[in-house]
């Protein structure tokens, strides 16, 4: 009976949709439009509205005057930014910490997912997974607090273990030396997110066609050959998609809070990222125009990178985002 009803409804609605005038279609879909309109207005105001303020990047903004009464300087802010040695260093730090976090994050998450997949005891597997998700739910303030406590010279567990293992002679002041900072950022990101990131890889591994494993086994492939020749190629589309998603975030510098909370005067040359640069110019120095210019630079480059990564993936015949 219900089937019949659906059948009857189709021929009447289908041709009507094609010839229907625009406004009538709008009227017919008024419910859907009304249901999405408030949120669209919200996102336009709050997420896109601030673009208005981008004008500041082309001015020498002085507080106290309206945005229309400012002195226009064209691309001077951008020119200054890209010539400035400080900003070049900020850019280097941002990209370095992003790439380190990205590579470490991918390798560890895929590795952990492959190893978890080999555990056949469901109970143990589930317990390990539950534990590995824990840091994802902690706030960055807490995570950076735990990191600084673990790395401390007075009873920090990292120094205690390394000294006990005779790998170092005396505790290292990890957070006061620039050369360790990027590594600490990468390790912190891995600690917080590696378990969480396995979720997607485990799903991808589970969706690999089992007959491929059987075929490989018949050809005499062992455990590692099967991982290399069946599992990894099987999850390649997911890896590519996640890579594209992440390339758009490369100017985030592997997070904002790690550098903000763990960075200090001694490691500033290695810890300052674009976001922190913007915060510094906006809040502390009050040079809004330069801060806005740096922000625009970040957003525009991110969108371009995302677009390029997507395009390259398309060319190579890989999965892509849009």
């Amino acid at each position: 009976m219900p089937q019949q009803v659906v059948h009857k409804a189709e021929p009447s609605s289908q041709p009507a949709r094609r010839t229907e005038p625009y406004w009538r279609k709008m009227f017919r879909q008024r419910q859907l439009i009304l249901m999405s309109l408030p949120m669209v207005i919200y996102v336009v105001i709050f997420a896109y509205g601030p673009i208005w303020g981008w004008m500041m990047a082309f001015q020498q903004y002085k507080p106290g005057f309206s945005i229309f009464d400012q002195k226009w300087v064209g691309f001077d802010q951008f020119r200054f930014l890209l010539m400035d040695e400080g900003f070049t260093r900020v850019l280097r730090n941002t990209i370095a910490m992003s790439v380190i976090s990205l590579v470490l994050g991918f390798v560890t998450a895929i590795g952990l997912a492959l190893l978890l997949n080999e555990i056949k005891k469901t109970g143990i597997k589930r317990i390990i997974q539950t534990i590995s998700y824990l840091p994802h739910f902690l706030s960055w303030i807490i995570v950076t607090g735990l990191v600084s406590m673990s790395l401390s010279t007075e009873g920090g567990i990292v120094n205690i273990v390394l000294v006990k293992l005779h790998l170092i002679d005396e505790p290292i002041v990890w957070l006061s030396e620039g050369k360790y900072f990027w590594g600490i950022v990468g390790a912190t990101n891995v600690w917080k997110e590696v378990g969480w990131n396995t979720i997607i890889y485990l799903a991808a591994i589970a969706s690999v066609d089992p007959s491929l494993y059987e075929a490989a086994e018949m050809d005499g492939a062992g455990r590692y050959r099967k991982i290399w020749n069946v599992t990894l190629p099987g999850i390649r589309p997911v890896i590519v998609i996640l890579l594209i998603l992440n390339i758009g975030w490369i100017l985030n510098g592997g997070g904002f809070e790690i550098q903000y909370f763990l960075g200090n005067g001694q490691v500033l040359d290695y810890s300052e990222t674009i976001d922190i640069f913007v915060l510094k110019y906006g809040l502390r120095i009050g040079n809004y125009s330069l801060g806005v210019a740096a922000g625009i630079f970040k957003t525009v480059v991110s969108i371009i990178l995302l677009y390029c990564a997507n395009l390259i993936a398309k060319r190579l015949g890989e999965e892509r985002l849009v």
Binding site: V6, A9, Q29, P135, I142, G195, G265, G295
Partner: protein
């Protein structure tokens, strides 16, 4: 019999699995240790902790650290602000995200692509901190509770594009005939959404409720930027920063927070206070997520493998 057993123990799978289980033990220890250590410190007498040697079990048990945290009116108030923003933000966020996800799940919706793109773009597009600050200022939202609900950044905000996609993908797995037949019975889209889709989406709504709640509970940036001059809008995470900034580098920054300073006489140190607040700020979520694990794992997997 003996030989086969011996062979099995020497065999490759046995060696592999032994190492694998050892490695998993290592992962579990590395993940849990910093947290358990902080838990132990939070229950250990402050002065005793400074002697060192506290690992995962307190040496001198005390509840004084927690007493101090909850007797501090400021922290106590901040706890309730955190609860309020989490509850309000999650209830509105989940309902509105689900409604939006329903509209873009309808294949006949004429603005479907536009709505999808305008939200997905927000995952990458940011107008920047300074322009956002001016917008919030112009809208007279500075130092209001509303900014916690409305400001779309750092995990908070009414709509998360990611959550929207997760719900949309889930709706697509539901049989289309449900919506069709409800519509033929005279149901409008809003009715179909509320009485057919919402109940069926319970598992995925639990998932995004968890994500939204975690975002709301853990964020600090909006307090820092938009509401730091109103003490009664301070949140738990922000109070933690106040304490942390005075203790994060004990050798670099010796000043002690006001909360702990007045309590040094009663053997409470900034370190132990910080440990106690860390627990108060993280335990609520840690008690919830294992029970939702099945749902959020399924939700994330759905969003990634399909399409």
């Amino acid at each position: 019999m003996q030989t086969t057993l011996r062979r099995r123990f020497k065999s490759e799978p046995f060696v592999f699995h032994s190492f694998n289980y050892l490695f998993m033990l290592f992962v579990a220890v590395v993940t849990l240790y910093p947290f358990l250590n902080t838990l132990a410190v939070s229950f250990n007498a402050g002065l005793d902790t400074t002697r060192g040697g506290i690992y995962v079990w307190p040496r001198e048990w005390t509840f004084k650290n927690y007493d101090a945290v909850f007797q501090d009116g400021r922290v106590f108030h901040a706890f309730w602000v955190s609860v309020a923003r989490t509850v309000v933000g999650t209830v509105f966020g989940v309902f509105l995200t689900a409604m939006l996800a329903y509209t873009i799940s309808r294949r006949e919706f004429m603005y479907r692509k536009f709505v999808t793109v305008i939200f997905v773009l927000t995952m990458y597009f940011s107008a920047g901190l300074i322009p956002s600050y001016f917008l919030i200022k112009d809208l007279h939202l500075l130092n209001t509770f509303l900014v916690y609900i409305l400001f779309p950044g750092a995990g908070a905000g009414l709509i998360s594009a990611f959550n929207m996609l997760v719900v949309r993908t889930y709706i697509h797995t539901l049989p289309e005939s449900l919506v069709e037949s409800a519509k033929i019975d005279g149901g409008s889209d809003f009715r179909v959404f509320v009485s057919v889709i919402l109940p069926l989406c319970a598992p995925v709504l639990a998932t995004i409720a968890l994500f939204t709640a975690v975002g709301q509970w853990n964020t600090w940036f909006d307090t820092f930027i938009f509401a730091s001059s109103r003490e009664n809008l301070s949140t738990l995470q922000y109070e933690l920063i106040r304490l942390l900034s005075s203790t994060v580098n004990s050798n670099a920054n010796p000043n002690i927070s006001s909360t702990a300073a007045k309590d040094t006489a009663t053997m409470i140190t900034p370190l132990s206070i910080r440990a106690a607040i860390t627990m108060v700020a993280s335990v609520p979520i840690l008690l919830v997520y294992p029970f939702l694990q099945r749902h959020f794992v399924a939700g994330l997997q759905l969003g990634s493998v399909k399409e």
